[in-house]
Symmetry: C2
DNA sequence: ACCTGAACACCGTTCAAGT
DNA sequence: ACCTGAACACCGTTCAAGT
């Protein structure tokens, strides 16, 4: 008995991969606002083919970033299991902050998409959101992070930190300010020791 | 002896004002990404005329916001003169945060422009930046705000707070987190009393 | 000196025709 | 079933011609 999912045509599979590869190159050199048209042209395929595989820019970016998002979810689970709550919280936010670094304009996209639950990116980020939410809940249970902090919103705020304030350091200079502002007095105390 | 500045032609003056007025309407209804073309068309003038008066979108927005920027500078001076340093700091940031509220997309523009000293908006903001810098310096002198906080960067970060996290309250819910993160322990202490 | 709008460019999106 | 690229739309920007 055949599988429910029909296997796509061989040329469709080939084109899908070719587009993804070209998009990745464009994404790295031109940033997240790369021209949709160029991706198709450089890949040597029609625009329609690109639209067939990726109906929106979000779908394309979500496909490009899928493995990055998975890594972040795994990292969150690892930190939750192996570190103290506050340490897990601070370290994961650092990892999340560094993630968009190689891709110009990605922060702006994330900031928009994370809030819109219907977007392909938000859907791809769901596991990662859930894992970070567990870290935040743990830190809140211990009275280290303010209870009114929402983990999804915090991610959005961190993604919104202006790119051009970033220096040569891997970590955004204002991340520490946001983290500190999210901590209770006990959390601040604990962070110093 | 005539003035050094030649007086512009009467129709030029009339058109300038007409464009500004139309742009304000468009800005309020369509947001900061309003179509440049539409402003000219709705004003009943050619596109070239718009470009003559406002070479870039930034020039147009700077003209629209000039009085708002002036108000913020005056307000900063007033707070510096009449309030305790911490109170002036917190209150002015609140005023700055509420300022872009009526204009969709203005935050994104500010976030970009404030960092680029050559932009018309950054130039229009210079008095306001200087006045706020004085407030920050005062609060830092009293050990209430961390010394590594740069007042211009702080403004950029506040402008970058995601619009869609804003609720019905006039003040952005994350402004408090950023402010708290910028304070020293003494500053936090003082804020509670 | 200033205004006008045609003209060009660039790019996103759709869809009829082809394989 | 999938691909192609012409065609349309929208908008920013420039500039030759007009007043």
């Amino acid at each position: 008995m055949p599988t429910a999912e029909k296997r796509p045509r061989a040329d469709a599979v080939r084109n899908f991969e070719r587009l993804l590869e070209t998009a990745r190159e464009q994404f790295e050199t031109r940033g997240a606002e790369m021209a949709f048209e160029d991706v198709a042209r450089v890949a040597g395929l029609g625009k329609g083919t690109l639209y067939r595989h990726f109906p929106t820019r979000d779908h394309l970016l979500a496909a490009l970033l899928a493995s990055t998002f998975e890594d972040l979810a795994v990292e969150a689970d690892r930190l939750l299991a192996t570190r103290a709550p506050l340490e897990a919280y601070v370290e994961w936010l650092g990892a999340f902050d560094r993630m968009p670094a190689p891709y110009r304009g990605l922060r702006a996209v994330l900031m928009e998409s994370l809030g819109d639950d219907a977007s392909a990116i938000a859907i791809a980020c769901e596991p990662l959101k859930r894992s970070f939410a567990a870290i935040v809940a743990g830190a809140q249970r211990d009275g280290l992070v303010h209870v009114h902090i929402d983990s999804d919103e915090l991610m959005t705020v961190v993604a919104a930190l202006p790119d051009h304030l970033r220096g040569t350091e891997p970590q955004h200079p204002w991340l520490d300010v946001v983290i500190d502002g999210s901590l209770t007095d006990a959390g601040r105390q604990a962070r110093r020791t």
